[in-house]
Amino acid sequence: MKIKTGIGILAFFTLMALFGPLLIGADPAATSEAGLQGPSARHWLGTTQTGQDVLTQIVYGARVSMGVGVLSAMIATVIAVAVGLVGGYVGGAVDEALSVLTNIFLVLPALPLIIVLAGYLPQRGVASVAVVIAVTGWAWGARVLRAQTLSVRRRDFVQAARASGEGPLRIVFFEILPVLLPVIATSFLATVVAAILAEAGLSFLGLADLSTVSWGSMLYFAQNGQALLIGAWWWFIPPGLCIALIGTGLALVNFGIDEIANPRLRTVKARRKARA
């Protein structure tokens, strides 16, 4: 149920990001003299101060926001998998060093670090923002993966594969990695949420590329244009809501995965059938 709702939300936004722009066609940055109009048949979600169509921006913004989220989560996950699996499987001094590195990145407060790094970024395009977010966001996944690798490595089937003569690479990629897929998926999804939030935060602070339309930059402009003060709720609510919804979708899928892994977490429709 949860997982279905989650997947539904994600599918909706993914489709919107992929095909929405094709359907809408219009330029999200195109201005017009019909500024600050409330929702209407022409502009379903109204317009911004400079007459840009909010719906068009939301649709295009989905690409950037989700793109940054997915891209940085991918980078972060690759780092996390590499660090976590290598550390957990190889052990010894390598593991020790990687653990310290991981822990350092784990305790350093990410957003301030992102802000500082982004503040220095000469180019604030989607890719560089994604990289900055990834650089500060891989540690959690690496830590979880390392712990899991350590425990999986000791599991009998890994020992058995070793005993039957499998090489280390094959063990890591064919025996351990598949078992960790749910964990990797969970950590990936969690990183996507974190990255989308981080991108939104950065754009909101004006530290990302404001000439590309993302939900974060929409909020920046809404805030700059004092959408709240002038009552232009249609300008300010949709981007935030989209971020929150997508986060909710990802979280729901994540909880679904957790529940599959740990059935105790399932919510039960209780006691109805209990004794009379």
């Binding site: 822990n103 305790v107 957003l111 000469p122 530290l207 977490l265």
Partner: protein, 326 residues
Amino acid sequence: MRFLARRLGFYLLTAWAAITLNFLIPRLMPGDPVELLVARMKGNVEPAAIDAMRRAFGISDASLWQQYLDYLGNLAQGELGRSITFFPTEVSTVIADSLPWTVGLVGVATLISYLVGTSLGVLLAWKRGTWLDGVLPAATFMHAVPYFWVALALVFVFGVTLRWFPVSRAYGLDVMPGFTGEFAGSVLYHAALPAVTIVVASMADRILGMRNVMVTTLGEDYVVMAEAKGLTSRRVMWAYAARNAILPNITSFALSLGFVVGGSVLTEIVFSYPGIGSMLLKGVENEDFPLMQGIFLVISLAVLVANFLADLAYVVLDPRTRQESE
């Protein structure tokens, strides 16, 4: 004590890493604060004065290694240099002025969020299958809402529309800071919305985290046994289940502090709260290296200290680690 000694060692190493990172980032990145200053001053300064200003800001051409040594030396004396934005104010002064606000706001809000969130998580796990499950979707949603959006929404509803709460600054304009009831009241009144923002936005994580661990704990034999012993539900819930479920949550709580601090940066900015977050943004906008570095360092160290405290709490709360410390 061995456990704590090791942790302490780790934190010192991390602190060193943060300090060094802090030193390196601005030097590896392009940009010249003075040029920016000139660009921003819109003609109030003649470009010919650039060199002189560069000297005034202590921008040095020494070797990287020498700069690093100087930096460490200055740091050891608590000197973080002078802010460019607030020249010639010392960065340490800027931080000293703003830090208490952040510590107060984030501290209190986090405490509330932790206490309420943990309790709710416990309750939610305990009352699984009742109407309380309805809190879950809400918590899931809140878990993904950006801090600043919550802040903006609160400003809109309670500040702009209803006008119940002030929407900026830390205390009333006409209140002089001091140990007076008036000042304290004003501070609390002004902190209300920002604190609620942080509580609302960070609590969901605590609720969900605690609930999940708690649910797992509830299946443990010792909880079933406690119930079998005929103890009251309250006692089973708190002294047995929650008391154990809290342990794994302590670490994640400490680690999540970094996120809360990050979120509070955004919150402060929305509420024009004179804390460290507003200062950080100011520093970044103005390429104020010394200020950014100082603030990032202070935030990092604060999070480190919080983590160490969490480790201490863990040792106190979990007898199994205590034994290691013989």
